[in-house]
Each structure stands twice: as C-alpha cells, then as structure tokens.
C-alpha cells in the first residue's frame, strides 16, 4: 500500500497543511498550549475573540461543568486589538501555522473597525466573525439569530475586509440553513459552526444559578450530534467552505465532520481535558486515511449527503 496521504486543504485560497484548527476562546492565542503542542503541527490557530478595545468580560463563576461538556460565560474578555497585534500576532508570526483571527464587537461599527485594522496585519490569513456575542448593541443576540441583521453585518464587514471572511453561526436558531444563506448572500467567504448552545445549571443546595451570568454556552462532546447535523444541513444549503466544530475530541469525530461537509475542523473544549488532543487528532486523521486507503480528504468530504 502506498502510504502517502495528502492532508492539506485549501480554505478560501489559504493552503493549510491539514484540516485541524482550534475553536476560538479555548486555546488563547496558542501560547499557553505551546508547552503541550507543537503549533506547527496544526493547520491553523484560531485566536480568542478580539475587539477593538479591551473587554472586562463577565463576573465569576464563568464556567460550570455539565455532563459530557461545560457551560461558559466568559463574556469575551479580551485585551483589545492593540495588545493583540503587538503581543499575540507577533508570537504567532514565529509559528509555522496559519492564523485565523476571531473578531467580536458591541456594534457593527466596532466589528468593522476591528476588521479594517486587521487588514493591515500581514500574518492574519482569515477572519472569523463571532456574531453570537451575548452583549451587543442591536437588540442583544440579534446578529446571531436574525437573518437580516446577519446579512447586513456580513455585508458591512465584507466591504472593508482584506482577508477572507468566515461568519461563525449560532446553533440557537430554528433554521440554521436560513442563517447560512443570509451570511453567504451577504458575501461570506466561508462559514464556521457551531458556536455554543445556550444552557443552564442550578446549584440546588445554594438555590441559585451556578454561573454568575445565569446562562452559559454549552460545548464539549455532549453537543456533537447537534453540531454535526447543522454542518451537514448547511453543507447542502450553501456552497462556501465550512469549518465544523462542536464537541470534537477524537480523530473519528473530526472525520465525521469532514464527511458531513466540513473542510476544516476546530477542536475546542477537548483541549481542556487533554491539552495534546489537537496533535493526536492530526495523527489520527492521517492513520484513518492510511487504513482506509484515502489519498486526499476531498475523497470523503461531504460524502454523506443530505
């Protein structure tokens, strides 16, 4: 058997050495995990959401463990774009991997300013726009759950963006395909999904919400079936490439997302349980390809069709 497999993928014209990246917010900007993983092993690093100015985030407790996953309400704490550029992007310049910068904002203007400034940064390959902030100007979660708002903000961002734009979709909607189409019609070059499912935990002894924020975003293996279903539906509704995520913890999980239609996959919460998981997933995909005689991921991408 010829053992050469090609794990490289082209994502919006960016050539990734493999389809594995990390889910924004679970990996910092890679620095903290570089003790455990050689970042050059990853197709790309996706950074924690960054805004034009520093954000404080929510009160603590910000996280709670749930069965097979966790809730988080970090509230998008971030050091602001200046520090991000001078420290985090600079660190990533030294790493042999692509960079996807996740962007958040309180208003359309903030998103756009952020995207404009990032246009000047050489080592930003792609922009991922997080439109599921719990705390945005226009009627709360509107960007993430109202197709018109989503379409509009996508257009505004695309008008200024220098890098390809990935819109990140919220799963807390009745019709994920409608949201996907709204983003693509607005010019999105790619989509990433899913962000977290809104959940809750109650401390029955103290009779209060476990999270200071009351609700939090659920992530981890427990949400994988919902994520996979949405990726598969969206893959047949639109034709832009997809970054699939939600509960990926093994190479087999990653392959499921690729077969469902994802071009790349992000590993999030699994890093918290096993800091070397991303590297193991890269190796596992390669092994799977070899054992199944798959030479290129295009042979299996979207092979399970809606």
């Amino acid at each position: 058997m010829d053992n050469n497999v090609n794990m490289a993928v082209d994502f919006c014209g960016v050539n990734m050495k493999n389809p594995v990246t990390v889910a924004s917010g679970t990996f910092g900007s890679g620095m903290e995990y570089s003790d455990f993983v050689d970042l050059s092993k990853l197709g790309a690093v996706t950074t924690k959401g960054v805004a034009i100015t520093p954000w404080e985030g929510n009160a603590t407790p910000r996280v709670a463990e749930v069965y097979g996953g966790m809730l988080n309400a970090i509230g998008l704490q971030n050091p602001g774009l200046d520090t991000f550029i001078s420290r985090d992007l600079k660190f990533l310049e030294t790493q042999d991997t692509k960079v996807i910068v996740n962007v958040c904002g309180h208003s359309e203007e903030e998103y756009v300013s952020c995207v404009e400034r990032l246009g000047e940064c050489d080592n930003v390959d792609l922009l991922e726009i997080n439109v599921s902030c719990p705390n945005v100007k226009e009627g709360g979660i509107a960007f993430g759950t109202d197709p018109k708002c989503l379409n509009n903000i996508t257009k505004m961002i695309k008008a200024k963006a220098k890098q390809p734009v990935i819109m990140k979709l919220s799963p807390n909607v009745t019709d994920i395909c409608e949201m996907a189409r709204a983003a693509v019609d607005g010019g999105a070059d790619a989509l990433s999904l899913i962000n977290t499912l809104t959940g809750m935990k109650i401390d029955i002894y103290r009779r209060c919400y476990t999270l200071a924020n009351r609700t939090g975003g659920m992530s981890g293996p427990a949400i994988k079936p919902v994520a996979l279903r949405m990726v598969n539906q969206v893959a047949s509704a639109v034709s832009v490439p997809i970054i699939g995520m939600g509960g990926i913890a093994t190479a087999e999980d990653a392959i499921e997302f690729i077969m469902a239609g994802a071009t790349m996959v992000s590993v999030g919460t699994a890093n918290f349980h096993n800091p070397t998981v991303t590297s193991e997933i890269v190796d596992g995909i390669e092994e799977f390809m070899k054992s199944q005689g798959i030479k290129d991921l295009s042979e299996i991408r979207n092979c399970v069709r809606w």
Binding site: E32, F36, P54, T60, R62, V63, Q77, H273, N274
Partner: protein
C-alpha cells in the same frame, strides 16, 4: 507544566471527608513548590474538566507529591476511591506559588486551605527559619488533620468553628487571642477568611500573600474562566482581571479585590 499519568503511592482518609494521596510524578514534582497546584482529571467520561488541587508536600527525592483534599463532589469522591497502584492523570505544577521573603512568617490556613501551608512551612524551615519564628495558625471546622506534621517545624495556634479544638472562631480570632506577630502573612482558605486577613494585614501594615480559588476550565491560562479582580490593570489581560490559575493562585492581598 506537563500532563502525565501518575501512580498512586498512598491513599488514606485523614479525618471525616479529608483524604491524603501521594502520587509519583517525577516530571511534575521536580519543578513544584509551595503555593502551586496540580490539575487532576477524572476517569469518568461525564466529567471532563480538571480538578485543581494544591500541593501539600513535595518529595523531590521520592519524585512524588502529596495532595490533601476534601470530597466536595463527584470528582473528588472518585479520587478518594482510588487505591495504591491505580493511576491518575495529573498536570502541573501550575501557578506562581509563594515567595519566601520574610523572617517571621505567619501562615494561616482555613479548612481545606490548610494543606498547602505544610509545604510552605517546610520550605521556610528548610530556608533556616527556626520553629519559634514560623507561626502557623490553623482554622479547623471541627476535627483536626495534619496537625502533628505542622508541630514538628512550627509554632502552631488553632481555632475551630465548633470550639472543639483551640479557640472558637476563625484564624484571625486566634491571631488576636494569642497575640501572634510576624513580618508577612501567607494564607489559604475560604473567601471570608481571606477578607478578614486582608483587613488585618492592612491594619498592621504587613504584607499578606493569599491564595485564591475560582472555577476553572483549562487550568493553564488559556480560557479566562478563573479571573479575580485586580486593583491595577493586569498586564496580560489589559483589564482589571488576573487569571488565578497562572497569574496566581497567590496574590498580594492589597492587589486584588475580594
């Protein structure tokens, strides 16, 4: 920081719901010191997040760590059922730990904040500070644990919630009652106790190094779950929030808001 599978060398129930576990983990033990912690991972697939547990003793020759913990929930309950010879996943050492600049330290531990004081006392003792000059104030709920181990190297004062041992009250009550004095405070325990210590340190104008707790997800500085509010803007976050896991867990009391 490394994540490894460690063998359990010894597991014992100290008192009530308090357990002591020695684990063999050369890669972790070699860099470990007082005030740091490790992340322990559950074997049960429903529990994916690490459990942070302070380092109670470091045995560098034996390549091992001692962890003393209370069975608070399902994760620590699972650990308590493990036996000598079982293995447990551990990541560490994590955090800054205590700085040892002092001549007459006062160590204060409350409840499950007592164990990390033991390694600290040992390090201070090893530094050459003699028994009379290391004051340890221990606040128990009711029954004592680790007490004799402290008595070997330090002057020990005790308080307890029930009054069953030492004076009835908290560690600050004991400090006042016994007139304990020193040039630096090192403390770990519940938040109300740390608040009282912060105030006491301010009044007496001595530095207090306190170890904080918060819910964690990554346990290694990446997720921003475990923050505490800081007086000054934090260098890493650019806001008034520091990460307890890697910027702490030890903070100077006058630098954080409790």
């Amino acid at each position: 920081m490394e994540k490894i599978s460690a063998d359990i060398i010894k597991q014992e129930n100290l008192v009530d719901d308090i357990y002591s576990m020695w684990i063999k983990c050369p890669q972790v033990a070699k860099d470990a010191h007082s005030g740091q912690f490790v992340n322990l991972y559950s074997k049960d697939s429903s529990r994916l997040l690490p459990r942070p547990i302070s380092i109670c003793e470091v045995d560098k020759k034996g390549d091992s760590l001692r962890l003393v913990y209370r069975t608070a929930g399902a994760g620590t309950k699972e650990f308590s059922l493990m036996k000598k010879g079982d293995s447990i996943d551990v990541l560490g050492p994590v955090g800054n730990g205590y700085t040892l600049e002092c001549q007459h330290p006062i160590l204060m531990g409350g409840g499950i904040g007592i164990p990390p004081m033991l390694q600290l006392a040992k390090e201070l003792s090893a530094k050459g500070i003699d028994k009379d000059n290391i004051s340890v104030v221990l606040g128990y709920r009711d029954a004592t644990f680790l007490l004799n181990e402290f008595k070997k190297i330090a002057t020990v004062y005790i308080s307890s919630d029930t009054g069953s041992v030492g004076i009835k009250g908290n560690v600050i009550d004991a400090v006042r009652e016994y007139g304990v004095e020193g040039d630096a405070i090192y403390a770990c325990g519940p938040k109300p106790m740390l608040r009282a210590i912060k105030e006491y340190a301010y009044e007496n104008d001595i530095p207090a190094y306190i170890s904080l707790e918060e819910r964690m997800a990554c346990g290694i500085g990446a997720c921003l779950a475990c923050v505490c509010e800081t007086i000054d803007k934090d260098e890493h976050s650019q806001v008034n929030n520091a990460r307890i896991c890697v910027d702490g867990p030890v903070f100077k009391a006058d630098e954080v808001i409790l």
